[in-house]
Structure formats: C-alpha cells, structure tokens
Amino acid sequence: MAEQTTNRGAGRPAKAAEDGAGYWKANIRIITISLIIWAIVSYGFGILLRPLLSGIEIGGTDLGFWFAQQGSILVFLALIFFYAWRMNKLDREYGVEED
C-alpha cells in the first residue's frame, strides 16, 4: 500500500491512511476553535456575558449590545472566510485538494 501511494499524487510521498486521519484531525481542531469563538461572541458577549461588558461604553450603550446587533455578525463573517482559507491550505498540505 505504501508503494502504491508513493507513486501517485503531486510529488508528495503520502502515507494515505495516516495522512487521511491527520487531515481529518486537523480539520476537527480548526472547526472546534472556530465554533468556540462563534459561541463566545454570540451566546457569550451578546447574551450571557453582557453584564461583564456593561462597563465598556460604545455609542450610547454597552459593548454587549453591539455584539448582539452587529459584532457577532462581523465575527461570523471573519470565521467563515478564515475557515475557507485555512482549509484550502490544509487541502494542499495533505495533497487532497481537487484537481
């Protein structure tokens, strides 16, 4: 199996099985980190942790209000673009990108 996989691919001596597991593990790690941030900005800053942020004033209200109405959406955007960029890079690192 090792010989088979070394012959093909974009010049990478890939150990397919371990690499496949490594790729998926790396993906899960990126997803987990992203979803933690996703939860912190919306459920955290926007709702549950809002009292903690009440001291930070922004435009006539507090930072928690801003996160609930705008900040979380902006962070969501950043997360999706980060994920797309990071995964496309990961695809190339593991040689699993399309064509």
């Binding site: 199996m1 088979q4 996989t5 093909r8 397919a16 496949g20 790729y23 998926w24 993906n27 997803i31 992203s34 979803l35 996703w38 919306s42 459920y43 926007g46 709702i47 549950l48 809002r50 922004i58 435009g59 006539g60 209200t61 507090d62 209000f65 801003w66 609930a68 109405q69 705008q70 979380s72 959406i73 902006l74 969501f76 955007l77 997360l79 999706i80 673009f81 994920y83 797309a84 995964m87 496309n88 695809d91 593991y94 040689g95 699993v96 990108e97 399309e98 064509d99």
Partner: protein
C-alpha cells in the same frame, strides 16, 4: 408622474428582467434543473443564496421586530446569520463533495435506508410548504399595497412570473433570477436607510449611524441616538430599548434554534450543490453571509432610527411637552404618510379623550397610570401601529423622492419571489428525484425525470398559490414549525452522517423521528393541536410553558434529543457496513474520490 405609475414602472421593469433571464437560462438536463449544471461561481451563488434566504419577513418585518422590542430581538439577527457558520463548517463542503442533487438523497445513501430518506423527504416538504405559504401571501400583500390591485390578482401575477422562470429554468433559471432579485432588494433596503441615517446622524452608513450622535433639540451638545431613544421610550412607559428583558435560557435556546434551523433548511443547503468545487462551497458560504450582512447590519439601524423618528413625530415637543395635534396630522406635509398608511389599515389613531391631540404611550404599563391621570389621557391614542410600516413607509416618513418608493415596492416583491422560488425548487426536486426517481419509478430516463421535475414544479406552484389565496388559520405560526422541523430532524441527521461513522440506519431513523415528534408535540401543546386555537394544554408564554422554554425555542432541544437517541440506538445495534465507512471517508476529503479508487 403619479406615484402609482412610478411603482408600476419599477415593478414592471424588474419583472421583465426576471422573465428575460428565464428565457436565457433554460435548463436542458436534470443536472441543470437540480444544480444549475454545477457551474455557478461562488460569489454568484452567494448572492443567489442571500436572496433565497432573505424572505419577505427579513425585508419587511425584521426592522420592525427589532424596533418595537429592542435588544431582546437581537436573537433574530444572531440566529439568522450564525447558522451560516454551522453551514460553512459542518455541512456545505461535505454535501457538495457527496455530489448528489437533494438533501434527502444524502440521508438515504449515508444511512443506507429508504426509510431515512422518506422521513427526510416528509420533513423537507412540510417545512418548505409551510414556509412558502407566507411568501405567497407576502407577494399578494406587496402587490395590493403598492399597485392598488387586489391581493388575489397580485398573487396570481406573482405565481405566473415564478412559473416562467422556475418551471423552464429550474435551479439554473432560479439562480440567475435570484442574483437580479438580490440586487433589487438590497438597493431598495439600503437607499432609504442611507438617507435616514444622513438626516438623523449625518453618517451615510446606517450601521455606524446607529451608534452615532444625533443633534438634540435646542442645546448645542449632542447625544447618542440610542441614549435619546432609550430616554423617550421609557418616558412614555415602554420598555427600554437597549436593556435585556428576557431570561437568558430562552434567549440562548431561541437563538440556537434559529441557527440550527437555518443550517438545516433544505432550500438553502441545496444551493451549495451548484458550485463547481468543494473549496468553492466553503468560499460561497462566506459570500452568502457578506450579502446577507449588508441587510442584517442595516436592519437594526433602520429599526432604531424609524422608531425614534415616529416617536418624535408624535411628540414634537418631547415626552414632557404636548403631543401632536390631530389638526397637524391632517394638514402638515410631514404627516402626509400617516394619512396614506391609515387607508391601508396598518396605522390608525383616535382622539379618545377629545383634547384634539394624539397621545402615543404604553397604557399597559401601570406606572404610567398616574401620569395619564394627571394629564387627562384616556389610553394610547395611536390605536394601530403595524410594525411592517417601519420599512414600507420609511421613504415617505423621510420624505424621499417617489422613485425610492417604487424601488421599495420592487424590493419587497423580489424578496418574496426569490424565497418562494427556492422553496418550490426544494419541493419539486424532493418529489421528482426522491419520491419518483428514488422510490416509485427508479428506471425513469433522464428526459422523463426532467419532465417530471417540471410537472412537480408546476404542481407545487399551483398548491402554493392555492394555499396563498386561502391561507390556513395557522399561517402566521408556521415559521416556528419550519425552523423547528429543520432544526430537530434535518440538521442533526446531516451532521451525524458526516462526523460519525458509527451512527447507523436504525439510529438515524429513531433519532430523526424522536427529535421531530418531540418538537411537534411541544409546539402543539403550546400553540394548539395543528394550531387550532384553544386546544393547547399550556399557555404560549415563557412563564406558563412546560419546561419554562417558549415553544418557538424548542427546536434546539429537539436537535439534542435527536443526537442523543441516534447515538444511543446506534451503539446498541449493528455497526455500519464498510462501504458506508468508505463513503463517509470520501465525503470528508475534497479529492477523496480519486484516492478511494486508487486503493
């Protein structure tokens, strides 16, 4: 030129554009009909998905939802955007890699079970049909309001236009029409908002204007818009705008239900089948949210600014001064819009205490009783104040030129039509691809399938038109149902199908059914069996509800139950076969198909 003529011109021109696209983008194969030939650029798909997703409710009602409640309804803003993070990270790339045409097809193949596929088809059709009713009535209402024709005639015209591009163009026609509809609706939404933001705060970007200062009357110092709004609404006995009034548990669960529901709505997911590659699906989810955010970042600003505008119009001398007089409303040009909208029945007032002035305040607030008694007020005199007015009457309130009003008319129709078309497409592909091709007549030729897809689409439009003309009494409640179903049944099944190799056919079916039944039961117990008023066992309020969770927020709990049951049942039944593990493996890597063949 008369306003009616301008509206007619704008709506007519936009419809001509949609029909032109229909002629240009005809579908010649099932791949084009179901997935636009998988040739849609990720940015184009993002725009189309944004139009697909943003319905008449987003366009017309959301600013009002936020304006009249304030901070608590931020849940809609977070919930309806945060779902795209789940979609981008957990579903879209893998389902694109799977490379089939419908959501139920993935569930059927991954859980090697026609039963699972049928459960998914039923959830999909129920969720989409309930959702489409609201869109069709929205088309009728928008027509009736702006073009002075009956709702029925308006709905029929709208149905004919959808018919033209959806039946012939399928996903291909719908995609390019949705791109055009997005452009119309976003211009219609942002142009009036920019003008209002400039008038109030001097900032051309409404999202920034929301946190800017406004000129306060008389004094040379300026105060923040939100501070001023908080002050005047609390003076009138309303709940403050920026503070929280709802308990955390319900806010979190409601937001989570909207997010999971968004990520599980089939008509949104299937849009990601149209892009050429897995990496495009990842980018495309980001572009979708960019285009949605343009409206969703503007909506809270429109809401707050319109509420401040209207409250100040009613109290031109501040809450401590005299209210606006009936005579002013009837004669002053800046109150013209009130007379216009009184005719539509969305706005009304009555001088209850006969003092010649209209006092607008919260008469349900007991603390206001003393103030009211001292001033001789006898109840809130702005007797009807529909929240949809905030967006629809915005251009008139801000005194904008007639063409802006025409644009808003075309924008409202674009929002309703684009969502209706996406839902109809989800329904027709479920019928032709999952039911007919997948179940009843598997050896159907491609040509026959394409024909049956068109017939299913035409039938779906007829059913939706009928339901739009004769909406069942529960039409207003159905959004909760659609999101609850998508959250409790479809999203968990898809996610487990990708992220677990262990969840098997029995587990998936048991999980979906228990999530579904729990959610339906909970909604029916609070809203009445099949939404028949009076048959509910618990009051539909937070305090009276069964677990202290409002019925609209229960989808997230249903999803948890689905996950739990599916895992428990799977672990106590046979492991998934090797070919299913291979299928999951191939879905997980963009180029997995090639590698799998090599071994």
């Amino acid at each position: 030129m008369e306003q009616f003529t301008i509206n007619l011109l704008f709506v007519g021109a936009s419809f001509a554009l949609y029909i032109g696209i229909a002629v240009w983008a005809r579908a010649g194969s099932t791949s084009e009909f179901y997935a636009a030939g998988r040739g849609v650029h990720p940015v184009t798909n993002g725009m189309a998905t944004a139009a697909d997703w943003m319905s008449a409710a987003s366009f017309i009602s959301m600013a009002g939802l936020i304006a009249f409640v304030g901070y608590d309804n931020s849940t809609f803003l977070m919930g309806w955007t945060g779902g795209y993070v789940l979609l981008a990270l957990l579903l879209a790339p893998y389902l694109r890699k799977f490379g089939k045409f419908t959501v139920s097809e993935f569930i059927g193949d991954r859980f090697y079970s026609p039963t699972a596929r049928m459960v998914a088809v039923v959830c999909l059709i129920v969720a989409s049909v309930t959702y489409v009713i609201g869109q069709m009535t929205g088309v009728g209402v928008a027509f009736g309001r702006f073009l002075e024709i009956s709702n029925t005639a308006g709905l029929l015209i709208g149905a004919c236009v959808v018919f033209a591009y959806a039946v012939f163009g399928g996903m291909k026609g719908v995609t390019y029409t949705q791109v055009a509809q997005y452009c119309v609706l976003i211009m219609a939404y942002t142009i009036p908002a920019v003008f209002i933001s400039l008038q109030l705060t001097g900032t051309p970007i409404p999202a920034l204007g929301l946190f800017s200062t406004v000129e306060s009357g008389g004094a040379d110092s300026s105060v923040y818009l939100l501070t001023k709004l908080d002050q005047i609404v609390t003076d009138l006995g309303f709940a403050s705008y920026t503070e929280a009034h709802k308990d955390n548990l319900n806010m979190v669960l409601f937001t989570l239900s909207l997010m999971i529901g968004t990520a599980g709505l089939p008509h949104v997911i299937m849009r990601f089948f149209t892009v050429p590659r897995v990496s495009d699906a990842r980018w495309s989810a980001g572009w979708t949210l960019v285009f949605i955010a343009l409206l969703y970042l503007t909506a809270p600003a429109v809401g707050a600014m319109a509420r401040l505008n209207i409250t100040e119009l009613m109290w031109p001398n501040g809450a401590q001064g005299d209210a606006v007089s009936v005579e002013t409303i009837e004669t002053a040009p800046e109150y013209d819009w009130m007379l216009t909208w009184q005719k539509t029945g969305l706005l009304d007032w009555e001088d209850k205490n006969g003092d010649g002035r209209i006092q607008y305040y919260n008469d349900a607030n007991e603390e206001m009783a003393a103030t009211a008694a001292a001033n001789g007020w006898e109840g809130n005199e702005l007797t009807n104040f529909n929240r949809d007015i905030l967006v629809l009457a915005n251009p008139e309130i801000a005194n904008l030129p007639g063409w802006v009003i025409g644009l808003v008319a075309a924008g409202g129709l674009a929002a309703a039509l684009s969502t209706a078309a996406g839902l109809l497409l989800a329904i027709s592909s479920a019928v032709s691809h999952d039911l007919l091709k997948g179940q009843l007549t598997p050896d159907m030729s491609e040509k026959a399938e394409l024909m049956s897809a068109r017939i299913a689409m035409a039938a779906a439009i007829l059913v939706a038109t009928y339901l739009g003309l004769n909406p069942p009494g529960f039409a207003a409640q159905t959004v909760a149902l659609a999101f609850g179903l998508a959250a409790a049944s479809i999203f968990p099944a898809l996610m487990m199908g990708i992220f677990s190799k262990r969840v098997n056919n029995v587990g998936a079916v048991c999980g979906m059914l228990s999530g579904l039944i729990f959610t339906l039961l909970y909604i029916f117990l609070h809203k009445g069996w099949f939404f028949v008023a009076g048959t509910n066992s618990f009051p539909d309020t937070v305090d009276g509800s069964l677990f202290g969770i409002q019925s609209t927020a229960i989808g997230a709990v249903g999803a948890l139950i689905n996950f739990g049951v599916a895992y428990a049942v799977s672990l106590s039944t046979a492991d998934t076969p090797q070919e299913i593990k291979d299928l999951v493996e191939s879905v997980r890597t963009p180029a997995g198909a090639g590698a799998a063949v090599d071994h």
